[in-house]
Symmetry: C2
Subunit: 214 residues, 2 copies
Amino acid sequence: MSQLLRVQNFGVSRDGFAAGEGQSLETPFGHADPRDLLGWAFTTASWVGRTEPGGTRGIDDHLTRDFAHGIGAEIMGRHKFGPQRGPWTDLDWEGWWGDEPPFRTPVFVMTHHPRPSITKGATTFHFVDGSPAAVLEQAREAAGGLDVRLGGGATVVRSFLDAGLVDTLHVAVVDLDLGSGVRLWDSPDDLLDRYERDVVPSRTPGVTHHLFWR
Amino acid sequence: MSQLLRVQNFGVSRDGFAAGEGQSLETPFGHADPRDLLGWAFTTASWVGRTEPGGTRGIDDHLTRDFAHGIGAEIMGRHKFGPQRGPWTDLDWEGWWGDEPPFRTPVFVMTHHPRPSITKGATTFHFVDGSPAAVLEQAREAAGGLDVRLGGGATVVRSFLDAGLVDTLHVAVVDLDLGSGVRLWDSPDDLLDRYERDVVPSRTPGVTHHLFWR
């Protein structure tokens, strides 16, 4: 079995945005509300951020419970790691996730401004400057034979799609328009020339799961 | 997180049968064709019985890839283990699965005719005579904190449902009538007094996934 590059539990608006404009420390998704884009996931028993018992165990849960299953490394963009831009002025920033980030594998943060690696709990963040193909090669090596999760944001997912490197893609399309922000695509149909797709409704009204593979 | 008892990838006909009549060495599902009941699963990339590369990676695959995820033991009925009835006359029978059964955990085979345990590859079959609750306790202990899969057949699933022991249940309902055989239920709606449910279509025409939890 080859090592797949997987996008999972990725929320986008009907008009194709995975985040709004104006990301800041207080608004990681800019003017978008993460409860709108990812609320379907928050209701599930297996959501990685769940702190209380309970949650659904239906179709949405089958998707969130796959988060870490068979994953040995993650690749993310710098804007998923933090709101800073340009050269690092403050190395105290170690991500949004506190002392025990949910990744629990090596994580490769793509940035033109590398900095020393950081270990937080079971997660080590490496900061790498390179092409999608080169970073994927590093992540695959670190994954020890397991799959690699492509964690976003949309700009990073887009660059890996354009390079033909994404094997499977789960995007939850939410029935709201953001108008502007960080765009994944014009339409979920954009990928149908290169991918097969299943479309299934979420339990959460207005949310539809698009599952792509090739 | 508590240890769940999970039924997974369980195929039944529209009229509620998980197997036909007349199980034999040549016909493990009696007069039912396993390709009818489980064909949706055979098409997926993660189907445990897949020997060739390829396969789909959409919604059906999210269900089959969950087969071993977080599972530490299986409970099955004797008729899943083999076609024999009554006292064992031939201990050479060691299951349908050859030298490397797909379970790769302890498996508890419920029978009124216990026999010595068998290890085949990474799977050890234990033969136990007891109530569903008692067998579940054994399986939970063997599962090392992980969930327990309730592997069927329908009679065994039914007995655990009646005892209120099943936590999650994935049944693929196939659009054909078997008329007779081993029955799981009269209708998928029978469980709605005790379970929540999602219903999603398979990629395979005529197959509908019913996902129950409580």
